[in-house]
Amino acid sequence: MRRTSAPYVFVAPAVILLAIFLLVPIGYTVWLSLRASRVTGDGLGLRHEVFVAFDNYKSVLTAPDYVHGLLRMLGYGAIVVPVMLGLALSFALLLDVPRVRLTRFSRISIFLPYAVPGVIASLLWGFLYLPGVSPIRDAASALSLPVPDLLSPNTVLFSVANIGIWGGVGFNMIVLYTAVRGIPQELYDAARVDGASEVQIALRVKLPLITPALVMAGVFAIIATLQVYNEPATLAPLSDSISSSWVPLMAIYRDAFVNNDIYSAAAASVVLALGTLVVSAAALRVLQKRAFGLDR
């Protein structure tokens, strides 16, 4: 008896914590997503919670604001993920080239924006973007260049993506740089003996060896894209170009806490969570083969 119960005792804390803080809330969210508040009675009426099956899902999946938000989020990801990883990779490889000066200083200054909280970064950039107070526009007009409107409907996606990239490059650069530093020196010696230039070493030796780190950074970046909220939500009150449902999380927040419709918000959350799961699993599956193929 005692022997058979031991494993259960050992896993119990983990299972109980998982159940209380993950499974039960998920279950409750799914339960809420199948319900809605409906009004009955005379006078102003009273709201009751009723079971509506998949009505919330239907309205979420057909609501134009959710669909547009989803597309916008994908566009944001299509800009942020490649640009951010490309910059992080370039910086990591450049900083590892022998005889490069000021590496410590450069590393810290590239990393520093990551330490700025997203909301504060968005406020800072908001001031730089806002036409009435933007020094960027002042500088452009002083140099008689075309004055950009950084918060117009056509540019706002790039402006928001810029904040995400600005904040994310440093962290990813450190992850990749650490991976590069982990490569044994002998490989470089061997490459140099074979007559490889620094560029060839970077592209043919370092890059293949840090691919696992790059894949991991990529998956995290994709997940961060699906969770984009701080930057557009902070800029929204400053500009007419960002609606209250600009990205899915903003629409979820609006439904839950502005419109008091926690049920639609729950349904949208479930859809977004499932989407995140599918996208991350697919990204891992596709990339894993290439990245970790040798390890198997």
Partner: protein, 451 residues
């Protein structure tokens, strides 16, 4: 939902009621069990019969500045009926929290709520019907103010403060450019054109997509009343002739570039209000306080006048902002809570405290001529009679009734008008879209809507 029995419940009348209610619960228990997971919506509509002087601990969620000082006065006078202020959140956020707390069975006894939030509280069964208290206090307020807390002939809150709309303008710049203060909206449009001619980088005013309450106030001034509830059926007229007139008036000027279309309450707006990019601001009585925060360098340069009029013969204005005090429908201290609400919003000492410490403009007419209002706001030393002028304007405020989906309508307003401003499209069409969205939401929630 069971709460510990408070001393007040020992009082015979209340104890009997509690017993009868218990009996009723026992009889209907199976039915209740079947619906136990749904909202507890049985609200007690019987008027308070408890002892107003019974000892009680009252909790009060509010965001009024320095209200603690006013509550301290009460607590000293009523040591057995202590009110505890809790600053949970402001405006809409507080309402969301109150509704959540109501579901959990621990909402505060006293709830500070903006007028447009009251229907949301009512339809969630949160706000108590205060009709019994209404008879005692109604005469302390103007009819326009009283309309803000009345729904279908019942009263669900006692007005605390109001925001009658009035216009602020830069006296110095008006003199410099030789402009006349606009008395009517036609004058306003003409002045706006003159400003663009005389100072190409400046605008008379801006139309903000970020402030639905401001637009509702402008529509109210023109005679709109967006929501009417008649025997449980809603009539929604957001796109009525008055609102369309207002929307098209502003839309034409904004789309022609005669007025600005940038939102208010942004760093850009602060700058425009300080550096004279904007020459006027149709705002409310509390606007002087806002100016102090966003444009302190312009002290003494602004002047407050009545809003431009649609019909100069019958001056009118709307409300922008303002709030009331409601009582939780399930508060175990109903009678003491009513006593406090009445004191807070009608007692001269309480009103004076809220004016001087909280900077509010009281809803009670007596409060509007309180001694603490004899001095003009900090920003307006050039207009010593500021509050006397404001009291005159306040009398012309129309009043408005709100629907249980103002929150949804407001968030739609911001999105729809932001788009209209950017695409330079017809604001009248935007109002139609707003009507459609608001009606669709009411219907979805199960309200009866007259089409």
């Amino acid at each position: 939902m069971s709460r510990t029995v408070e001393p007040a419940a020992m009082e015979p009348a209340l104890a009997r009621r509690t017993f009868l209610k218990g009996l009723a619960t026992a009889v209907t228990a199976p039915a209740l069990l079947a619906a136990c997971s749904s909202d507890d919506t049985s609200s007690d509509k019987t008027p308070a019969k408890g002892d107003p002087n019974a000892p009680a601990d009252l909790s009060f969620w509010t965001w009024t500045t320095n209200i603690e000082k006013v509550v301290d006065i009460w607590n000293q006078k009523n040591p057995t009926q202590k009110v505890t202020v809790s600053r949970q959140a402001q405006g809409e956020d507080e309402i969301t929290k109150v509704i959540t707390a109501h579901r959990a069975g621990n909402a505060p006894d006293l709830i500070h709520a903006e007028y447009q939030a009251l229907p949301v509280l009512i339809t969630n069964g949160v706000a108590a019907d205060l009709s019994s208290l209404a008879a005692e206090v109604k005469s302390a307020f103007t009819d326009g103010t009283w309309k803000l807390v009345s729904f279908g002939g019942k009263t669900y809150g006692i007005p605390q403060d109001v925001g009658p709309m009035m216009m602020y303008y830069r006296e110095d710049l008006f003199t410099q450019y030789g402009l006349q203060v606009p008395k009517t909206w036609d004058d306003f449009a003409a002045t706006a054109r003159q400003v663009r001619q005389k100072a190409p980088n400046q605008y008379l005013a801006t139309f903000s997509s970020g402030d639905p309450g401001w637009f509702a106030g402008l529509a109210e001034q023109a005679g709109a009343n967006w929501w009417v509830n008649d025997g449980g059926t809603w009539t929604v007229s957001i796109n009525d002739a008055s609102t369309k007139k207002v929307a098209q008036f502003w839309g034409d000027l904004v789309n022609q570039g005669i007025l600005s279309g940038k939102p208010m309450y942004t760093p850009e707006w602060n700058k425009a209000m300080s550096d004279g990019t904007l020459l006027a601001w149709p705002s409310a009585v509390w606007g002087a306080g806002v100016l102090e925060g966003v444009a302190p360098s312009t002290k003494g340069k602004w002047k407050m006048v009545p809003m431009p009029q649609w019909d100069a013969g019958t001056p009118a204005t709307g409300y922008w902002g303002g709030s009331a005090t409601a009582i939780w429908a399930k508060s175990p201290h109903r009678a003491p809570a009513e006593k406090f609400v009445k004191w807070l919003n009608t007692d001269p000492e309480a009103l004076d405290g809220m004016i001087s410490a909280g900077g509010i403009y009281p809803a009670a007419t007596a409060g509007q001529s309180a001694p603490s209002l004899s001095k003009a706001p900090n920003m307006m030393p050039n207009q010593p009679a500021f509050f006397a002028d404001a009291a005159e304007i306040s009398k012309t405020a129309r009043g408005f009734s709100w629907a249980p989906n103002v929150n949804v309508t407001y968030s739609n307003y911001s999105d729809i008008f932001a788009k209209a401003i950017q695409s330079k499209s017809d604001f009248g069409a935007a109002v139609d879209q707003l009507q459609t969205a608001s009606v669709a939401d009411l219907k979805k929630q199960g309200f009866q809507v007259k089409s």
